[in-house]
Symmetry: C2
DNA sequence: GCGTTATCGTTTGAGCCCGTACGAAATGCG
DNA sequence: CGCATTTCGTACGGGCTCAAACGATAACGC
């Protein structure tokens, strides 16, 4: 059971709620499916290959990035992994505690920190990654190679649009107003 | 700046690491782009329309589900929203605390609980949803309507494959072995 | 009736997640 | 040289996340 009501059913309900307001339905369906697919895929990976290795999705991605690119400054690891630098601090601590990752400060610039895999981390990735790729093949089993390329292409267009024009767009939306600060987050010392 | 290294660069690095092992590269690119797109899109929404309303992505999705479908049993809300029932308990508590959502137990079955929007929650959604849809249009601006339909189609195939055959696949992978229990989670009382 | 089993939502524990605040270090500039 | 500004990584606060454990309720079998 997919558990999700059909796009058509959802669209009908939305129309009933907001029939008067013109909406972009194709874009709505595309965006909501991106998120559904991402959740489904992530959950499958966590419950298949990653569970056995005691890795979460994020910790796997962090290991993967460092594994592929070699020793790296933390800021770039965070960027590649798609998480904030604050989150990376915690994840790296967890992985270092398990002996999979090593951290040292940059020899020439005291502000920077470097991450690299330990031998054990390297061994783990050599074991886990092929299994991970096999699951990528599994979830995309209903698609031809050509369809996979199309899918990757369309998604890349969305990523590029969002990341390249997102800042500008958000400024435009605010139109001079102060951005609402996040409710959580560290409080000033005073 | 997208901050992501190109697919081609990544592929080259992976080949260097695992040249001997045959890998599925089209599927790899498709899956990783799903996740990149989902993160980028979510972040844009949280920092544009949702921030002003003091909603996180998840709390918005929960409100949206209840808004569209009306009063609903919590198990279905969690399923539609794509989160676990335990997570929903917390999110619903937060939203109820803000006066956007109401919770009551089912009149005929004492095990069930029902959620519905308050008047304030209804008002908020009527204001936020059109703005949300406008951002869906923004992130998909580089795609034609036809491309959006194609994208939604391909993604739906992945969702269906993962959700319909995932359980079976995971059993197959374990092949009789005990599934590794999650490290976190509640401990037995004894 | 009455015990067993199934099915809810909630609790719990460990971890991820973000953005803000902050201190250390490096750079820019006068 | 010395001070201001920038740029790092980390600490922190609040919230989301999951799965396993749990208690309450309901359904089933006899």
């Amino acid at each position: 059971m997919t558990g999700y009501r059909s796009i058509r059913e959802t669209e009908k309900a939305v129309r009933a709620k907001l029939g008067g307001t013109p909406l972009k339905y194709e874009q709505m369906a595309a965006v909501s499916n991106i998120y559904r697919a991402a959740s489904a895929v992530r959950q499958h990976f966590e419950n298949s290959v990653l569970r056995g290795a005691e890795l979460t999705w994020t910790s796997f991605v962090v290991l993967y990035v460092v594994w592929i690119w070699g020793e790296m400054e933390t800021r770039y690891v965070a960027e590649e992994a798609g998480i904030s630098k604050g989150t990376l601090t915690g994840v790296a601590r967890t992985l270092a505690g398990r002996g999979l990752l090593e951290r040292r400060s940059h020899p020439d610039d005291g502000r920077l920190a470097l991450l690299r895999l330990t031998g054990e981390g390297e061994r783990l990735m050599e074991e886990v990654f092929p299994a991970f790729n096999a699951e990528e093949a599994f979830v995309a089993d209903g698609l031809t190679d050509e369809e996979c390329r199309t899918l990757a292409d369309l998604l890349r267009k969305i990523v590029v649009q969002t990341e390249e024009k997102g800042d500008e767009r958000r400024l435009e939306l605010l139109d001079g107003a102060d951005p609402t600060p996040r409710r959580s987050g560290r409080r000033a010392k005073g």
